[in-house]
C-alpha cells in the first residue's frame, strides 16, 4: 500500500503543481491550437484530402507539442532543491518515476484529445466508426512517449543544454511509436476495420511497456549521484 501511496503522492503533487502554475499544459495546448490553425491555412483541401494527411499531422503536433511540456518535467523540481527532498525520502526511485510518468500521461493525453479536437474542427475530420480505438491508439502512444520523455527529461535537466538536448535524445527513439501511431490513426480515419489496426495497437502497447520497464530500471541511475 505504501508503494502505491508513494506513486499517488507524486501524481497528486505534480498535477496540483500544474493546476497552480499551468506552465506546461498552457505551452502544449497553445502549440496544438496554433499548429491546427497553421496547417488549416497552409493546405488546399480541394487538392489534398484531410483524411489522407491528418494522421501524420496529428502525431507530429502531439510529439513536438508534447516535448514542450515533458521537457519541463523537472523544472519546478529544481527550485529550492525540492527534488532533493524527494530523493532523501524512502520512496523507491521506480515509484517516483512511475508517479511522474502517470502525471505526465494525464497531461499529454489531454493534449492529444485537444489535438484531435482541433483537427476535427479545422479539417472537418470524420473520426471513423471506431473513435474508441483512436482514443486507445493515442493513449498507448502517449504512454510510450511520456515513459521515454520523463526519463530523458531527467537526463537533460542536469545538463547545460537542457531542453535543447531532449529532442536530440528522444526523437530517434520515438520513431517506432510514431510509425505505428500514424499507421493506426490513418487506417482508422480511412474507415478500415478494427482487425486492420490490432497489430499496430499491439506494437504501440509493446513499445509503451518496454519504455516503462527500461525507464523504471534506469531512472535511479539518472537521478542518483
Amino acid at each position: 500500500m505504501t508503494y502505491l501511496g508513494q506513486i499517488y503522492a507524486i501524481v497528486w503533487k505534480d498535477l496540483l503543481l500544474e493546476l497552480r502554475t499551468r506552465e506546461r499544459i498552457a505551452a502544449m495546448g497553445a502549440f496544438a491550437v496554433l499548429a491546427g490553425i497553421l496547417f488549416n491555412y497552409s493546405m488546399d483541401q480541394t487538392v489534398v484530402r484531410a483524411q489522407d494527411i491528418a494522421a501524420g499531422l496529428i502525431w507530429m503536433t502531439l510529439v513536438f507539442g508534447g516535448l514542450l511540456g515533458i521537457g519541463r518535467t523537472f523544472h519546478l523540481e529544481a527550485q529550492d532543491g525540492a527534488f532533493q527532498g524527494v530523493l532523501t525520502s524512502p520512496a523507491p526511485k521506480d515509484a517516483v518515476y512511475i508517479g511522474k510518468v502517470a502525471a505526465n500521461f494525464v497531461l499529454l493525453y489531454l493534449v492529444a484529445l485537444l489535438v484531435v479536437g482541433v483537427f476535427t474542427l479545422f479539417f472537418g475530420l470524420d473520426l471513423g466508426e471506431h473513435p474508441g480505438m483512436l482514443a486507445l491508439a493515442l493513449a498507448l502512444g502517449s504512454l510510450g512517449f511520456v515513459a521515454l520523455g520523463t526519463l530523458f527529461s531527467a537526463v537533460s535537466s542536469g545538463t547545460h543544454m537542457g531542453e535543447t538536448l531532449l529532442p536530440i535524445l528522444v526523437f530517434p527513439l520515438l520513431v517506432p511509436m510514431v510509425i505505428y501511431g500514424v499507421s493506426a490513426t490513418g487506417r482508422l480515419l480511412a474507415g478500415r476495420p478494427v482487425a486492420d489496426i490490432v497489430g499496430n495497437l499491439r506494437m504501440l502497447g509493446a513499445f509503451a511497456v518496454l519504455a516503462l520497464g527500461v525507464g523504471a530500471v534506469l531512472f535511479r541511475f539518472v537521478v542518483e549521484e
Binding site: L16, D80, V86, L87, P90
Partner: protein, 253 residues
C-alpha cells in the same frame, strides 16, 4: 587545550549500537578527494558540529552520512544497520535540513508536509502536521504557499518537513545561511529542541559562533579529513577561533 577523541569502530559488543557510525568514509571525484577516510561514532543525544573552510568537503560528508551519495570507500551505519543503496527503507530514520528548503514553492506548507509525509509512508498526518508546525512556530501559516514565506519561515517549514517522520538522525547543512539575526535566533531555538536525548544531530557550518552553541561534539574538517575531532567541553569559546585557524592552516600545510 584539546585532546583528540579517537573515533571508535561501530560497536557491536555494546548493548545498543551507536545511532550513527562511519568507518574510513571516503568520496573521490576523479583525482579530487572530497572526503578522506573519516571515522566517527555518535550516540543518541549527541550533537556534532563539523566546521571547516569552503571546499573542505563538509556538505559531501553530510551527503554520505545521509546516504544521498555513495562512498568511494568506507561504510556508514545507522542504528546498527549498514546503509545499502539498493534499499531505501533506512531513509525513514534520517531527516535532512539544507540551506535549500526542499519545499515546492507552489504548494502550501501543509500540502508540502502532506506530500513528504506520504513519501515516508506516514498515516497519521492529520495529527502529525499541526504538531510539527506548532513545534516550529508556524501553526498559523499552514495554508500559506511556500513561496510566500520569508526565508526564515521557509527554513522553519523545512525543519518541520525534516522532522515530520520523527527521525533518530538529523543532518543539518548550513541551516543558518541567509537568515537575519532574528530569524537565526528563532531557528536556533527550534534546533535546541532537538537536544531531547533521543536524536542524534550532525550540523555542518563555517559559522563558529552558531556552531558552538548547541554542540556537545566538534570536528574541524580540512581538505576532506578531520583535522581535529573532540568534545565541546575541551575547547574554550574565547580561544576557539584561534584554534580553528591553527587547525585549518596545519591541515592545508
Amino acid at each position: 587545550m584539546q585532546s583528540a577523541v579517537t573515533p571508535q569502530a561501530p560497536a557491536v559488543a555494546r548493548g545498543a549500537p551507536p545511532v550513527l557510525s562511519a568507518r574510513g568514509l571516503t568520496r573521490e571525484y576523479g583525482v579530487v578527494v572530497a572526503v578522506d577516510g573519516i571515522d566517527l561514532e555518535l550516540d543518541a543525544g549527541d550533537f556534532l558540529t563539523v566546521f571547516g573552510p569552503n571546499g573542505a568537503g563538509k556538505t559531501t560528508l553530510l551527503s554520505l552520512l545521509g546516504g544521498r551519495l555513495k562512498p568511494t570507500r568506507g561504510e556508514v551505519w545507522v542504528g546498527g544497520e549498514r546503509l545499502a543503496f539498493s534499499d531505501t527503507a533506512w531513509r525513514a530514520r534520517i531527516g535532512v535540513l539544507s540551506h535549500q528548503s526542499f519545499l515546492y514553492a507552489h504548494l502550501t506548507v501543509a500540502e508540502n508536509l502532506r506530500f513528504f509525509g506520504k513519501l515516508f509512508g506516514l498515516t497519521d498526518l492529520n495529527e502529525r502536521i499541526p504538531d510539527r508546525l506548532e513545534q516550529v512556530g508556524l501553526a498559523n501559516r499552514s495554508d500559506v504557499l511556500a513561496r510566500q514565506l520569508s526565508h526564515g519561515m521557509r527554513q522553519r517549514a523545512a525543519l518541520a518537513r525534516a522532522l515530520l517522520h520523527d527521525p533518530e538522525l538529523v543532518l543539518l547543512d548550513e541551516p543558518y545561511t541567509g537568515l537575519d539575526p532574528h530569524a537565526a535566533s528563532v531557528l536556533r531555538g527550534v534546533l535546541s529542541s532537538l537536544k531531547d536525548g533521543r536524536r542524534t544531530v550532525v550540523m555542518v557550518t563555517h559559522n563558529l559562533t552558531q556552531g558552538l552553541e548547541l554542540a556537545n561534539r566538534l570536528a574541524i574538517q580540512v581538505r576532506g579529513r578531520f583535522g581535529w575531532y573532540g568534545e565541546r567541553d575541551a575547547v574554550e569559546p574565547e580561544t576557539f577561533e584561534h584554534f580553528y585557524h591553527h587547525v585549518v592552516e596545519a591541515g592545508n600545510a
